[in-house]
Symmetry: D2
Subunit: 303 residues, 4 copies
């Protein structure tokens, strides 16, 4: 089966590489051809456009950002949807919002194409190691028809509902990462202000019932103060909290903690942490914390 | 009538001065005698201790900080309560919390002394101009018995309830100042980020229905960036928000905005604004605001 | 001069009426003709469509909601822009967001039409009394050319910048109303929980330096518990806080208080206050406040 | 070695029982003798007062609430400290705040007694199964001298620093439980509002990297809506968030998420969830969430 793969960035190139390693034939397209070279040198075919990829592929994967790049690849001047043979499957692994994913499902259906929205969680190294998690929204039978391919790239493939539901789940996950990181940072700063050593705190909390397991992987950054290069840049995490807040507004849910976390990350951005790993929220909150309270009070009053 | 006045700081010295200007005889005490000199040169009598003041005074005013200084003056080794003639009146103008004020009322009653808690709002210049506002908690008849004296020092004397109620009202006022200032700062930063000029914003908002009148007096500080010396230091405002939060917890009230404001002022303290006027919260929020959002998004995902 | 007026809702009908009372000739259009009858009976001409109004008018006012109704009236199948004589002026008084207002300015320019975005503040009664405030974004000379007309409908006409700036200012104003109302509600609930009477609180705070003047007009609602019919429904205020949060994200501003206020209003919506006046946030926060804290604590611990 | 055990509530009775099962001799005291009966029937000796227990015991454990009950047992009229043989060890397992624990350490030292503050995490069932975790603050050698006893009651004994540090760590843990639960509830409500099924959400999130392991134990409560009897009552959790906020203020740390969580739990208390398990914050946030946004907007404006 010939697989079209569009979008060969940090994640896409590694994902496509894993398909190739497992013996699948690829036809690939990327905005810049340079990033395709390693795949081409192992036998992948280059397509000058998404449309050209569609002419030869039996299934198409997209892994693109930002959102409008997905729309452009599918529906633009050289988009793949019009020339893709009806009945075939498009799997969009890009991180998009649920309503956009539903729009793409609609657009695909209008061209007779089956559609799965399958965003992933996992970093660069998990993409390389084929240990990504796929959150798949769409028809169960469509998922089953491509599950072996997804399992070449990840070690967990979860069917979470209809179109857009993969994107919805991903928003929730990132909301949990963002709030969990910030609340943990608050706890660390409090604990240290009270006199606990950082290593005692880390030892007592990480791996225990009260903190999310992902935080274990932030320990080294916090202990060394080394927040770059980021696994997940703070400003992208903040964007995802914004997306969660938007989705919550649209769907009538209250998210007070999430909204406050969003604003605190914004303040951290303003203090220079935009491109740091999002665990730098600790650094922001810890800065100058622990000042002694003054012992006396002024008598003067406000106007 | 001979008036005892204990506590001659920035506010107390000006208040006592206004009593003296209106022809009242004073017996004064302060931690350091030096601050009493202007009053002494106009005929006030010096007392070496609160107890000594009580021996001669027919009414006692206290204007002290911090809270324990009030307790010390009244009940300490040389405190005035034991030697003050039963039936006389103590008016505490210090800023304290409601439960402390009620304790002082009890202590006074135990010595047969009448008590008013009468914290003020107003700054140094309002103290000098005798335009303070007194928020008086205690018996109405006790207030009436000393109203002419309060009116020598302020232009509004409000009876707000029993013991501790003056302190309670003052907490509410400072909570409103703190949240109002922070919300206004947010609005200014938003408006400027959207392209409005600061002078248009100031002109459109100040004096209008949507913002508190006290904000008019913050305009110059914000426009010049000159936050010192403070009319009301940011860290004292933050302490008052903390007091409000404490009182709210104890009395079963929810104050989400107030608590968030408290934390934002804390972050501003950590960035160096502790001793600035509390209007410096604008400076904190405005710092590096308005950065352009990046146009593209990374594909990489969190661990 | 013949004035086209499109949109005769609660506000628009009163605004058009004031133009008519001052002797101006109107040609009016509304989605339903019924609301135009009072104006027609005093000599206004009916237009079956925005395009028909444009054919005869020398200036066009729009007062429409929601946002897409503005776009439809200007650019839809029977929109007024294509047939409006180049060089003439369109004044949009609708409440829209800044970027939409800039889009309309662009669309107008493409048709050779001058454009002012001029949203208003003021309620139904202020519309009737011609005491609205206009926040005008656009060219100063365009504003001067129609200022006399705006002054027939309002008593303050402020030029606040280029296209979209009127909308920007209005977002800031509503953000201040929303946060100011919620913070005042918190203060009232705290004060009452501490033992202050509501009438003492109202008397001490309203009209004073610490609270915004608009709150004086909420006193009766709070004291009577009568939140309907709304002057400004809570859910529209919450939408405006959402708009402020969106604008802040896009322009890189942090608004922690505003975001929390947005969420607290959302919780109030969930408890049934959506259509109440937004001052009902007091009712929401006051409900069951003031419960005594239990005196003892359990020994049992969390899992 | 004869062990004195004071405080036989839900936790203390099970902890003492585990010491007894492992062959240790107990002398026990409790406010009501009734709760001691199971221990007495297996050979424990009853003491009529803490002082009487101290006369015979070589080590004393306390497991009491509220805080002042600890002070009373140690320093009250029949307190154990004065009569306890110098050089012996007091292990306080009660949940108290760090400064109180340091005060007890001081009081013990003044009587020549060694002191460990050793609060636990774990519920009733973990107390019964001897799988509690002890967070021990005090001298390392004092901990080593009693470690075998602690290991009769728990499966993890962590030395976290000097006096008060056990209490400090426990505050951090409960802050993490409170914020983690609330943020998870927000995520669930958002996910469900977006169309994800609760079982998909639970399956995708629980046990994964983004959520704390303790949340797995809340799944059944959330799925059945059965929040009573509580493992950890919401109002006690809220009290602990308040303690965290207090400690943070005193030590100069900013905790915006924690403070907001505190207020949201307060609102949930006001809606009737005080005695529910703290996972009922989901129920509070989910109530009436997901309402459709209205499609049109009113034209009317605020006063």
């Amino acid at each position: 089966m010939k697989i079209g793969f569009i979008g060969l960035g940090i994640m896409g190139s590694r994902m496509a590489g894993n398909l190739q390693k497992r013996g699948h034939s690829l036809i690939v397209h990327n905005r810049t051809r340079e990033k395709a070279e390693p795949l081409l040198s192992h036998g992948a075919i280059w397509a000058d456009s998404p449309a050209e990829a569609a002419a030869q592929a039996e299934i198409i994967f997209t892994m693109l950002a930002p959102t409008h790049a997905v729309a452009e690849a599918a529906l633009g001047k050289e988009g793949f949807l019009p020339g893709f043979e009806p009945g075939r499957l498009w799997v969009d692994c890009s991180t998009v919002d649920p309503s956009f994913s539903r729009e793409m499902a609609e657009a695909a259906r209008a061209h007779g194409i089956r559609f799965l929205g399958a965003p992933v969680t996992g970093s660069r190294s998990q993409a390389a190691l084929a240990t990504l998690v796929f959150w798949v929204g769409g028809a169960a039978e469509d998922l089953e028809s491509c599950r072996p391919l997804l399992e070449c790239m990840g070690n967990r493939v979860a069917h979470v509902g209809g179109p857009g539901m993969g994107a919805a789940l991903k928003i929730v996950i990132n909301q949990l990462l963002g709030t969990g990181m910030a609340a943990f940072a608050e706890g660390l700063v409090l604990g240290e202000s009270l006199g606990l050593s950082r290593s005692v705190l880390m030892g007592a909390l990480l791996g225990g019932p009260a903190v999310a397991p992902f935080l274990t992987f932030k320990r080294e950054r916090i202990e060394t103060g080394n927040y770059g290069p980021a696994d997940f840049p703070l400003r992208w995490l903040q964007k995802d909290l914004h997306l969660a807040a938007l989705s919550a507004y649209d769907s009538g849910a209250a998210m007070p903690l999430t909204n406050v976390a969003k604003e605190i990350y914004q303040l951290a951005i303003q203090e220079g942490h935009a491109d740091d790993d999002f665990s730098a929220i600790y650094d922001y909150l810890a800065r100058n914390a622990g000042a002694k309270r003054p012992l006396s009070e002024p008598v003067e009053q406000p106007a």
